[in-house]
Symmetry: C3
Subunit: 326 residues, 3 copies
């Protein structure tokens, strides 16, 4: 697999720098690139890394184009790298095209032409899967799930299992049968080991272009707006409504029955307990790690925070009184 | 599927309001209900929502019964909704009844009559599964696991895998072979994507009526008391002992070898590091999210908390001395 | 299965105390041991537990050897327990030896002799698995994964799935095809329900002797040094580099593109946001749980921490001025 820089400039609609007949055989990061590699610089501020790299050619922004001998100039080198990754990726579908013979598919399921379903996947009654979608091995899709066009689902993911709903009674918990389904739009990617529950009454809805990393959990009746992206272990409790173009860092949770407006960006390892109505960046959690001995001293104060605040108030009053006295 | 209100009043032992021959065809939330829907109001404080709903009939408490034209009066409308969900749920078992032919079951396993085992499930040696239990697709049950009557296990869950136990040696880690099993009582529900490890020496025990949401992790040798419920991603480190009638919010962890008494309720995203011996409600973690710029200012102070507390002490002493001076 | 103490002393290279012909039939914890059990005391400080135990024999350190009638003296009783667990574990491989007929293995995969692959496991193109490795049921291994000798992979784990990489465009997210693989060294243990992603460009690398608990997530391009151990739910974002002999407590996350040096020990439920360059113990998170009413009072102050710190500064200045005045 070798491409000339001129070919790649044409395929990615970028501007050639240097010898167009130069051939590259792989994409590589700057630090590991060789003279046969095409690499990229996605952040101009790190241009110093160009000097140390052995890359045969580099994709850069116009602002940095003087610093390379050979390569491509792009408005957005990172997006160009994404486009190049498709060109250099030999295989689209990791397991066989089409429905693998070991997949178990209910006869009432509607599987479009051109869908790939991996070995050991299990597809329940009345499931609908749109053309171009790829379902990984050992995925389970429970009944009443609809999946759009060109979706990608990682191995071991479970879609459409019962939401976690119980009513208390004097004997313990009474299960609330889950009557809703799951509706997933086009071009959605769901990672490996995720769980997307069916709705209790209303469907769980994931709009087009949503991207979920591995081990994400979406509880019953949640709605996720178009193009929202969530990193690993994000967990939505029941009935959470997330807007469009939202990003959520890994391990962040939502306590349920709250809503988040469009264009909100939430950091990692936070707990969202109230609705967010203003677009922007949000963070939560207690921050990073410290040496254990420092952390112990500080964390014990967390339990005294209210007392500390009250002591400051008392001091302020005392000083104020003294000032009046004098 | 249509039921008259009179039929439903009889089946749920509730009191009819209005025309008993009125037919409903579905359960629905108040906000999405139509004139053919039966809905419910589980919280009297939200009675204003009745006005905006198009529901043909509503389940309410006696205190709100004047505000509906048609419906059912229940001591506990939410529990009645749970009972109605069974009536309106056409299908009990999402995949075929009985043992699916693609399930792989060790010949020494004892599977009661009336157990359903989904496609691709794998059941190891000497496993026992009680009548009425439903094992989801692609579930793996390792040897030495016992499951009671009427249990429900979600897809991709793994029960009875080795606990995480190693001893240090000069060469690295020496694996501690896990010799215990897993014992699960009757009427236990385990969500999708959970991992329940076998005990190192003593069994891991989950008592009757326990409910675990998706992606819960129970380490080796834990014990969970009857009717305890845990939301998604709860993780118990080895040897944790949880009492009866406990509830745990999502993403909360337990550091192991500690115990929690009966009737404790712990919020989401907390870390339990010490035993809890008094029933009641507990919370942990750093609270919700803030605008990123506010969080950065506050979180950096977390690292200075101990210094802040000491500065308050100094101020208090200085002021106290001044007071004595004057 | 019965062993004399003399046999066990010989097999574990420990020193016999008491009657060498005494037979034990099981390993058990001190609290559950019977007169036929061999137990162990791994922490001398808990020697009081010896008195209450009915164990027929106990493994202890030399410092405690006067307090037992019968047993074994070991330099490291916990490591001796690990060795005994192998002796008392009847079965090595929980599912059948060799490749189970329901496993789906690509014809280009290279599976060494003596590898065990559980029912329903799926092995992709060009995968290499070294001798002695055991792959659990329903595991999925995507193409371009190499696994060393004597590795153990728990059920439902997914190795080699696409890393979570997208570039923004005006239409939403453009997927970055993942071109790297996963390289796993010898003697690595990966728990059940884990996800180990393939690299974007460079391989994801897990060195020899690494131990991962259940539900761990390793993102694309991470490197984990030899003998590092991570408890349940640990999550590494893309490009994280972890040194050798590191231990990480459960539920702790790493925000990506940072590095942690050798011999670092990080507690549970923390978020590592910056590189760690000094060996030692680190902690993070907000600490344990409190009664809900106490937590509410304290957690609200977390949002006022910066204001509190500034108020202390003001008080300090005022007092300082007063001191100069007087």
């Amino acid at each position: 697999m070798a491409y000339t820089l001129a070919e790649l400039a044409r395929l990615t609609a970028t501007e050639l720098v240097g010898d167009g007949s130069f051939e590259v055989t792989e994409l590589a990061s700057l630090s590991r690139a060789t003279s046969k590699s095409l690499s990229f610089l996605s952040n101009d501020a790190r241009r110093a890394e160009l000097k140390g790299s052995e890359a045969g050619a580099v994709v850069v922004s116009r602002a940095v184009s003087d610093e390379i001998k050979r390569g491509l100039i792009s408005d957005d080198p990172y997006r160009t790298y994404a486009e190049l990754s498709v060109i250099f990726d030999g295989k689209g579908i990791p397991f066989a095209q089409g429905v693998h013979p070991t997949a178990v598919i209910d006869e009432t399921a509607v599987i479009a032409d051109g869908v790939s379903i991996g070995p050991g996947a299990v597809i329940g009654a009345d499931v609908v899967i749109g053309a171009g979608s790829v379902i990984g091995p050992n995925v389970t899709i429970y009944p009443k799930t609809q999946i759009g066009l060109d979706c990608l689902v990682g191995a071991s993911t479970v879609i459409g299992y019962d939401g976690f709903g119980f009513a208390k009674s004097s004997d313990g918990w009474v299960k609330i049968r889950q009557l809703g389904g799951v509706v997933i739009g086009d071009d959605v990617e769901i990672g490996a080991g995720c769980t997307i529950d069916r709705g209790a009454l209303d469907d769980t809805v994931i709009e087009k272009g949503v991207k979920l990393d591995n081990q994400v959990h979406i509880a019953h009746g949640c709605q996720i707006g178009a193009r929202t992206a969530m990193a690993g272990y994000v967990a939505l409790a029941g009935g959470t409504v997330i807007g469009r173009d939202v990003t959520v860092g890994g391990m962040t949770g939502f306590t349920g029955h709250l809503s988040v407006c469009d264009k909100v960006h939430i950091g990692a390892n936070a707990l969202v307990t109230q609705s967010i109505t203003v677009p922007g960046a949000y963070l939560g959690g207690a921050g990073g790690v410290m040496k254990a001995e420092d952390w112990r001293k500080n964390a014990v104060r967390f339990r005294q925070l209210d007392a500390m605040a009250r002591r400051i108030q008392v001091l302020e009053k005392q000083l104020d009184m003294k000032s009046k006295d004098s």
